[in-house]
Amino acid sequence: MIRTALAAAVLSLASWSAAAESLTIVSSLPRTGSANAQTTSMINGIKMAIAEVGAKVTLGGVEHTIVYEDWDDASPERGAWDPAVEAANADKAIRNADVMAYIGTYNSGAAKIAMPKLNQAGLAMISPANTWPGLTKPGIGEANEPMVYRPAGNVSYFRVVPADDIQGAVGAQWAKELGASKVFVLHDRELYGQGIAKMFKLNAEKLGLTVVGFEGVDGKSGNFKSLINKIRSQKPELVYFGGTTETGAGQLAKDMAAGGLTAKLMGPDAFYNSALMTSAGDTALEGRVFITFGGVPPEQQTGKGKAFVEAYLTLYKTEPEGYAIYAYEATKVTIDAISRAGKKDRAAVLAALRATKDFDGALGKWSFDENGDTTLMVMSGNTVKAGQFSFVKLLGQ
């Protein structure tokens, strides 16, 4: 009896002191399943960002402890993110008045579930990994995007990674650098591929390239031989394919080689997996294929980014995974916004995040635009050498 009373007293004391001088940041990432290696590295990045400020932030003269909680949005049954768990996480964060920011998600699909809930509650969400353009940008994704994620009518979702459509813009710039003046643009008629192809076309025209064709193709058709003939008659130096290895990227490379078409082939990050080699073989790809990829490899980071990679190596004795630096950056900008807000108030934190300008972080100097997107466009450009992906240069700087 006495012990219970004592425990209750201690508990109430703890919760009272927590309410007075601490605030909470939570992350919702898939910790169970195949993404675990990536998210473990991301959480290391989050912890580093919090440790750098001593897990403390001073608001209106009062020192607040930053409490961090690592939540899993995956379930063992699915081995990947689970809509039910993600929804429960969002609700849990909203109910806990101490939570000032929600870092996540890893998957764009999961973001679609958490975004409207958090927006309604006025809680800031910062994603280190979502790349689906429709989450923030009007006119690229589905017709009701992104307003369907903003029931409160304002922006409460931010991301520190460039969205997929940036690949179209960056790709057009690279195509020009590679010496192309005439380009032929193809897409697989799917949401992802068509969106990127449209952005490529738009930006290529802005840069003064001639777009000699813009066509949707049937990725399931046996071969593209007739199409190759049509492309050949237009004499483009580069063919851009907004598509994936599932919708005929490999077949296109093969038919270009088989049809004696010497134009280069460029594609987005959906080319960047080993299925490309399996389906096209090394010879059809060598020196022909160019791929834009959202992440920048750790060894290519400079300045504060390089410092992060080195600090990470000393601390965890292993190289950070691709998205760790984005998780680190997301946490840094969150802490910065909380301290600029000057009080433990969700609305103030949101306003501070929206006002983020020229943030000098590990990824460089960047701001959030009116949609909550990063102004950074840095991507890596890759090609294939001897059956392996090989880094060529940084793009969009």
Partner: protein
């Protein structure tokens, strides 16, 4: 490119693709003519033939030094394999259901198709060098480009007629002539035509119908086997899902030409090949509409001429 050059180019690619579809369509239409069964697994038998072909090339060591030897070996081994497979499917799945309602056989044909598709996926997942070490069971597999790129009209010529297109014609056309001769001139061919016209009467005349049906499946399978080697060499890429698309094209060709009619199937296939070539290679942004056109034409033909293009003029079904 001048208009004539464009037309010539479309003819070359369209006919090459059409001839491959025709080989598969012949198997479809023969089986339908004899047992009135739409053998949905036919395209997948052809797909498994492609995997055998790639396996053979792989065992010979990938990029082969003597391509003609590899092609010869594939043409020697793959058609018997597909023929045996097709015969086995008939013997163990369709024959026990010969007197069952048509729908039962049709549904089991779809079932066989699923089994074949999954076999193809497992095959592609074998840890072999040619399958990319089996790392990506479901991804399309690169087929070595044994014939390379040689424009027979000269490397600078505007119109391309490559050794691949010639190979397609050289293998498929004689085979079709041979088949026509076989069906119209030999004893077994006559028996096939008899069974197609009236199975009961044929049986009363002393024809072993089960044997004739089995033979039809063997010939159809062998044709699919040849088609698989030709298709793999021509498109230089195979996938476990290719059977569905090829089967659908071939089925459409058979119906278009008049199902059960051999010249009709070839004619239908050439029409489809040419229609696709025109849509993809000439109509601006037409590639995405090629299926719409092909199936639109099919609907029109079925509405105004339900028996297909040649269906009513030729009386015999084989």
């Amino acid at each position: 490119m001048s208009t004539w050059e464009i037309i010539l180019q479309l003819l070359i690619t369209g006919l090459a693709n059409g001839l491959i579809i025709a080989l598969i369509a012949l198997g479809y239409t023969m089986v339908y003519g004899i047992v009135e069964l739409i053998n949905f697994a036919h395209g997948d038998v052809m797909m498994l033939g492609c995997f055998l072909a790639l396996t053979i090339v792989g065992l010979l060591g990938g990029e082969v030094a003597a391509p003609w030897l590899a092609i010869g070996l594939m043409l020697l081994l793959v058609p018997p394999f597909c023929a045996a497979l097709n015969w086995m499917i008939d013997r163990h799945v369709y024959r026990p259901l010969r007197n069952a309602p048509k729908l039962t056989v049709l549904v089991s044909a779809i079932g066989v198709s699923f089994v074949c598709v999954n076999l193809g996926m497992f095959w592609g997942g074998l840890p072999m060098e040619v399958f990319g070490g089996g790392a990506q069971a479901a991804s399309a597999k690169s087929f070595p480009d044994l014939l390379g790129y040689h424009n027979l009209l000269g490397n600078d010529a505007v119109v391309q007629l490559t050794s691949k297109e010639v190979m397609v014609a050289v293998i498929t056309v004689p085979l079709m002539i041979l088949l026509t001769w076989f069906v119209s001139r030999t004893r077994l061919g006559t028996a096939m035509r008899a069974v197609a016209q009236n199975p009961t009467a044929a049986q009363l005349m002393g024809i072993d119908t089960n044997r004739v049906v089995g033979l039809t499946f063997i010939i159809g399978g062998a044709l699919a086997g040849v088609a698989s080697v030709v298709a793999a060499l021509y498109t230089t890429s195979i996938s476990f899902q290719m059977g569905y698309r090829n089967g659908l094209d071939a089925f459409t060709a058979a119906v278009l030409g008049g199902i059960g009619n051999l010249p009709g199937a070839v004619l239908g296939a050439l029409c489809i090949g040419l229609a696709r070539a025109v849509m993809e290679g000439w109509v601006p942004n037409g590639g995405q509409w090629s299926n719409t056109v092909v199936f639109g034409v099919l609907i029109l033909v079925l509405v105004f001429r339900p028996t297909g293009i040649l269906g009513s003029r030729v009386r015999e079904k084989v």
